[in-house]
Subunit: 248 residues, 2 copies
C-alpha cells in the first residue's frame, strides 16, 4: 500500500513537472516569436507591428507570474528534493531570463518607433546594417537554449555560451562603426544613439541566453560553471581585507 501511494505521488509529480516544462517552452516560443516580430517591424518600418510587440510583452509577463506560481505550488505540494527540486528551481530561473529577453524585444520595438515615427528623415541603411545579423544570432541562441533545455543537452548549452562571445564581438564592431558614422556626420547622431540602444538590447538578450545555458549545465552537472570560478580565492581575499581593515 505504501509503495503504491509513493508511486502515485511520483507519477503526479512527474506529470506536473512535465506540464511546467511545457509551459516554460511555450513561453520561450512566444519570446522567440517576439524577437522575430520586433526585427521584422524594424526592417519593414512597420509601426503597427512594433506596437503589437510592445502590447504582447504583457502576455509574457503574465506567463511568468503563472509559471512562478506553478513552481511554488509544485514545491509546496510535492516537496521534491535533490535533482527534482533543482529542476524546478532551474525552470524558475529560466522563466525569469525569458521575461528579461521579452523586455529586450520590447525595447527594440520602442526604439523602432522612436526611429521612424513622425521623423522627417529616416536613418540611412548603413546605420542599421549590423542589427539583423545580431538579432538572428540572438534568436538562434534562444532557440538552441530552449532545445537544450528540453533535451538537457550540455554540449548544446556549452555551444550557446561560446556563441555569446561571438555576439559580444559583433556588438563591439557594430558600436565602433556607429561611432565612426557619428563622427563623420553629426546629423546621424540621434538615429545612431537609438541604434546603439537596439544593439545593446540584443547583446543583453545574448547574455540572458547564456544564463539559461548555464542553468542547464548547472542542472545536469550539479555545479555552477560561471560562478564557482575563483570563488574560494575571492572569499579568501575578502577575509584578508576584512582582517586588515580591523587592524589599528
Amino acid at each position: 500500500m505504501a509503495i503504491s501511494h509513493d508511486a502515485h505521488t511520483v507519477k503526479q509529480f512527474d506529470l506536473q513537472l512535465a506540464n511546467l516544462r511545457n509551459l516554460v517552452l511555450e513561453m520561450g516560443g512566444l519570446v522567440e516569436d517576439q524577437i522575430k516580430r520586433a526585427i521584422k517591424a524594424l526592417d519593414e518600418e512597420d509601426m503597427t507591428a512594433a506596437r503589437e510587440v510592445i502590447a504582447r510583452d504583457r502576455l509574457i509577463n503574465g506567463m511568468q507570474v503563472k509559471i512562478d506560481e506553478d513552481c511554488i505550488s509544485l514545491i509546496a505540494l510535492r516537496q521534491p528534493v535533490s535533482s527534482d527540486l533543482r529542476t524546478v528551481m532551474a525552470l524558475f530561473n529560466t522563466v525569469s531570463e525569458l521575461e528579461r529577453i521579452g523586455d529586450g524585444t520590447k525595447k527594440v520595438a520602442r526604439m523602432t518607433i522612436q526611429i521612424y515615427d513622425g521623423v522627417s528623415s529616416p536613418p540611412s541603411a548603413r546605420l542599421l546594417r549590423d542589427v539583423t545579423p545580431m538579432a538572428e544570432l540572438a534568436a538562434e541562441m534562444l532557440h538552441n537554449g530552449l532545445d537544450a533545455l528540453v533535451r538537457l543537452d550540455v554540449e548544446k548549452a556549452l555551444h550557446i555560451i561560446r556563441s555569446d562571445d561571438d555576439l559580444d564581438q559583433e556588438f563591439q564592431s557594430a558600436l565602433r562603426r556607429l561611432i565612426t558614422y557619428m563622427m563623420e556626420d553629426s546629423r546621424t547622431i540621434g538615429h545612431a544613439i537609438n541604434v546603439i540602444f537596439i544593439i545593446k538590447a540584443l547583446e543583453r538578450i545574448g547574455d540572458h541566453c547564456k544564463n539559461i545555458a548555464e542553468h542547464i549545465v548547472y542542472l545536469v552537472e550539479g555545479k555552477n560553471i560561471q560562478q564557482r570560478r575563483n570563488l574560494d580565492m575571492s572569499l579568501a581575499t575578502f577575509a584578508q581585507e576584512k582582517q586588515q581593515e580591523q587592524q589599528p
Copy 2:
C-alpha cells in the same frame, strides 16, 4: 512528544531563515558598497580603485552561488509551505537582482577605465555632470530596498517603485544633454558614448531595485503588483488571436 518535535522543527527553520536573510543583507551591503566605490573611482579618476571594483564582483557572484544553494537546501530539508516558502523564494529572487546590480557596478568601473586609462584628453566635466546624482539616487534606492526587505515595509517598497520613475527621467534628461554635446562637438562622441553606457547601467540598477521592491510587495500582499496588471485582458486577447489564426 509530537508537539515538541514540531516546535523544534519550526525553531530550526526560523533560525535558518534568519541566517539566510542575514546573508542576503550582507550581500546587499557589499553591492551598495560597490556602487559607492565605482562612483568614487570615476570621480577621482582612480584606475586602481576601478580595477578593485571589477575584482570584487567575483565575491558577489560567489555569494549568490552560496545563497542559492542555501535556499535550495532549506526548501529540501525543511519543506516550508505557504508564507515561509514564499519568503525563501522572494530571497532567492532578490539575490538574483543583487547579482545583476553588481554587474552594473562592474560596467561602471569598466567604462571608467575606458574613459581615463591611457587617454590623452580626458572628458570635460560637463559630460559627467549627471552621473553622480543618478548614482546617488540608485544607491539610495538599493539602501531603502534592503531596509524594506528587513522590515517587510510595503510603504517603503512602494516609495522605491516611485523613485524609479525619477531615475528614468534623470536618465532621459542626461541622454538629451549628451546628444546635444555630441552634436556641438564631434570630438566628444567617444567619451559621450562611454558616459551613455554608464548612465544606462545606473538606470538598470534602478530597475533591479524596483524589482526587489516588487518582490517585497508580492511577499507581504501575496500578489504581484506589476505583472497581474491587465494579465487577464492579455490572455483573453491572445486566446482570440489564436482562434483567428486557426480560422481558414
